[in-house]
């Protein structure tokens, strides 16, 4: 869907994509991610395996997800041009952790969320085109 409805339709080199593969399901593995990345084969896309769910936890802290959402995954985060920084912040229980910058726009496909901001690929594409 992202490949055919976004990357194939937006030809700009000003768009860069970072795909973070996560072990959410019990069967998820690096090998599965290696296979799945072929679905997003655009040269502007970079792929990363986050085996420890560091980013899934980090984004969970900043996105207004429902209480039942354990991790942030199946989410689509958009950042305007401009440098963004992670912050080292308290994350509870007296611990600190790296917290990602809030996206300028985001959508999701999570069952643990309301349908508000549920992924509409046309809306996401329009948001990207507006930021380019």
């Amino acid at each position: 869907m992202v490949q055919s409805d976004i990357l194939a339709k937006i030809n700009s080199s000003q768009l860069s994509v970072f795909v973070i593969w996560l072990p959410i399901m019990g069967s998820d593995s690096y090998q599965h991610a290696q296979q799945a990345q072929t679905l997003l084969f655009d040269s502007r896309a970079r792929h990363l395996w986050d085996g420890r769910l560091a980013l899934a936890q980090g984004y969970r802290r900043i996105l207004p997800l429902g209480a039942e959402c354990k991790f942030a995954w199946d989410v689509y985060l958009l950042y305007r041009p401009g440098g963004k920084r992670f912050r080292y912040t308290p994350i509870g229980d007296g611990k600190k952790g790296w917290t990602p910058p809030a996206p300028d726009f985001w959508m999701h496909q999570l069952n643990c969320m309301t349908k508000e901001q549920y992924l509409d690929i046309n809306v996401l594409r329009a948001a990207i085109e507006k930021m380019l």
Partner: protein, 65 residues
């Protein structure tokens, strides 16, 4: 300190680029996914990606299955 930090990001960015070989054609083979064993490595790679100020960036978090 900011220059040192920028230098670290630049090196990490180069490492990330080298790990994600770009196919020239859509069916030109499957590049290896960059994998980080430490959570801090993942954060550094993501931060170096987001530090690129010239582009609009789409970050997607997915399960492969």
């Amino acid at each position: 300190m900011p220059k040192i930090r920028q230098g670290i990001y630049f090196v990490l960015w180069l490492a990330l680029l080298s790990c994600s070989e770009k196919p020239q054609k859509h069916n030109a083979g499957t590049p290896k996914i960059a994998a980080a064993d430490l959570g801090s490595d993942v954060v550094q790679m993501a931060e170096s990606f987001l530090a690129d100020s010239a582009q609009t960036r789409l970050v997607i978090l997915l399960s492969p299955t």
